[in-house]
């Protein structure tokens, strides 16, 4: 059987298919469907220093070939994560990447520092791109200067591989990717959700409690693939690609564009088995195409 192991800079994964942050909770619910051990990694729900209530409902709106969410980073906070979620994930041998978010630089730094000192975490993913919280989040992700400053500081306190997750809601994704690379990111994740909204015509009001939300799902895949393609040409660090992946073909678009790993988000809502199925389909694909390593297709569509 072909080995799907993949190295993303300092990060070694047993396979290149991850669960995208916020769509997999802390893994608990999906663990009743399949063994989380199978996944390349679980990127847990965006974690903040203190517990967060999140946004008022409704938080979900369906859109053509996609959905909006405005969860607003509801999460139990660092302490509960360390006490409850992480030990549980470790006990079932899940590979854990922690997605962190903050309103202030200080919060990011504290999180990075504390999580670096914790065993059983594979990497940190800096969420600089959540469109659903008032402060922080996307603010850090849309200005190269602000981002650079933050990443430099986090880099200094973070001993784990550092993934920076980029927002697609920018004029020039390449500029931000380069800024992230040069300020110390080991890996880039892209893309987070596009900012969108739906109006409930019958009530003549925005449908979401938060007014706007983040667009995910197949609808955004062309934007995501384009961004991975563009970023791959200009940075050397590896890319985790995501945005609308539902099956092998979708994932291959990302690999061919230049992603060394992919993450599945909203598709898990439609079919909880999406990720394990994708892993075995990828295995079969590599065997039937006679590929020894993913390297043979990563970035192969570049020209």
């Amino acid at each position: 059987m072909i080995n799907l192991e993949v190295n993303l800079g300092p990060l070694r994964l047993k396979n290149p298919v991850l669960a995208a942050s916020g769509t997999f909770g802390f893994g608990e619910e999906y663990a009743s469907f399949f063994e989380l051990e199978k996944l390349g990694a679980v990127i847990v729900k965006g974690l903040t220093l203190r517990p967060r209530q999140g946004n008022p409902p409704p938080r979900i709106a369906e859109t053509p070939a996609g959905m909006l969410n405005a969860i607003g980073l509801q999460n139990p906070g660092l302490e509960a994560f360390l006490e409850r979620e992480l030990p549980r994930l470790r006990s079932i041998n899940a590979a854990v990447i922690v997605n962190i978010a903050g309103d202030t630089e200080e919060e990011y730094l504290t999180l990075a520092r504390e999580l670096s000192e914790t065993n059983g975490i594979l990497a940190l993913e800096l969420n600089l791109s959540c469109p659903n919280v008032k402060e922080g989040g996307i603010f850090f992700g849309t200005s190269a200067d602000v981002m650079t400053r933050l990443i430099r500081k986090v880099r200094r306190v973070c001993r784990l591989p550092l993934i920076v997750k980029l927002s697609p809601n920018v004029t020039d994704i390449v500029e931000l990717a380069e800024a992230a690379e040069s300020s110390g990111a080991d890996i880039l994740s892209l893309i987070n959700t596009l900012k969108g909204m739906v109006i409930d015509v019958s009530r003549r009001r925005p449908l979401l409690g938060n007014i706007t939300g983040g667009l995910s799902g197949p609808a955004i895949r062309p934007v995501a693939v384009r961004m991975v393609y563009e970023v791959y040409r200009s940075v050397k660090i590896p890319i985790i690609g995501m945005g609308g992946i539902t099956n092998l073909d979708d994932a291959l678009q990302f690999f061919l564009a230049g992603a060394r790993a992919v993450a599945v988000g909203s598709a898990s809502f439609i079919n909880p088995y999406t990720i394990p199925r994708l892993i075995s389909d990828l295995q079969l694909f590599m065997e039937s195409e006679g590929l020894q390593s993913l390297d043979e297709i990563v970035g192969a569509a570049q020209r």
Partner: protein, 260 residues
């Protein structure tokens, strides 16, 4: 928890409201009243999300499970076109069911519109185990009424209300219930499902009535299994106030838990 269930029967009960009977042994065996199925209406990216429907009945013996749904949008429209022997992709049973207390000899079931669905199932499981089962059922008019006798076990007392008075009591089901109120809060408990306005009224009035009361709530869902925090409802539980998940912490909540 993911199955393809075969359609045994699909029937339009009244204009725009369908009864769907599925054959799926595992679901039939596991389902409890108050739980729901999260259904993929088509093998397509539009509609993208699954649709949640309360389980309206299940027979482990026959391996069947039922839902009752109203056509309100694209997803339910597609569902309504299902044909016998087609397969429906169902995730479930999901959610926290009703938990009737053995100490209450009287069960009061309060339903508004399609909210009758989970209560039919509940009535079926309570039948013969309670002294009295009372079903109060309200709809806008007699045209939107399913004949509850067809779906209810014998020995259940049904009280109808229609907003236009075309059948039963003329008015809201909550008013009907209030007028006929005579049961002792110490001996009876209430289970309710229906439009938000109805549940809100009930919850408020119940502050003075003081019945033990369980409500089945609705909220827009993505995952349906508790992973995405999408289906938030503000509630107190375990001395904390915050957002609970309708899909996992609910859909059944104690009426005091919910923050309106």
């Amino acid at each position: 928890m993911l199955s393809k269930a075969r359609v045994l029967k699909i029937e339009e009960i009244f204009s725009g409201c369908f009864f769907l009977q599925l054959e799926e042994q595992r679901i039939a065996g596991d389902s409890l009243p108050g739980q729901f199925l999260h259904v993929r209406v088509a093998d397509n990216t539009v509609p993208f999300l699954r649709r949640p429907f309360s389980i309206a009945g299940a027979s482990p013996r026959n391996g069947t499970v039922e839902i009752i749904f109203r056509v309100v949008g694209e997803g339910t429209r597609i569902l309504s076109r299902l044909q016998k022997d087609e397969f429906l992709d169902c995730l479930g049973p999901l959610g926290t069911p009703f938990s009737p207390g053995k100490e209450f000899p009287v069960s009061i079931l309060l339903a508004g519109g399609a909210g009758i669905a989970p209560l039919l199932f509940l009535a079926g499981t309570l039948a013969g185990k309670r002294e009295k089962i009372l079903v109060y059922y309200g709809t806008p008019n007699s045209g939107e009424l399913l004949t509850p006798d067809k779906f209810l076990p014998p020995g259940v007392d049904v009280f109808l209300a229609t907003e236009d008075g075309s059948a039963g009591f003329h008015g809201l089901v909550t008013d009907l219930f209030e007028r006929s109120l005579k049961d002792d809060p110490g001996r009876a408990e209430i289970f309710a499902c229906g439009p938000e306005a109805m549940l809100k009224t009930l919850a408020k009035k119940n502050r003075s009535w003081g019945f033990p009361m369980q409500l089945s709530l609705e909220e827009r869902m993505a995952c349906g299994i508790g992973a995405c925090q999408g289906c938030a409802v503000q509630a107190h539980r375990e001395n904390k106030t915050g957002y609970l998940r309708v899909c996992r912490d609910g859909p059944v909540f104690n009426s005091q838990e919910v923050v309106w």
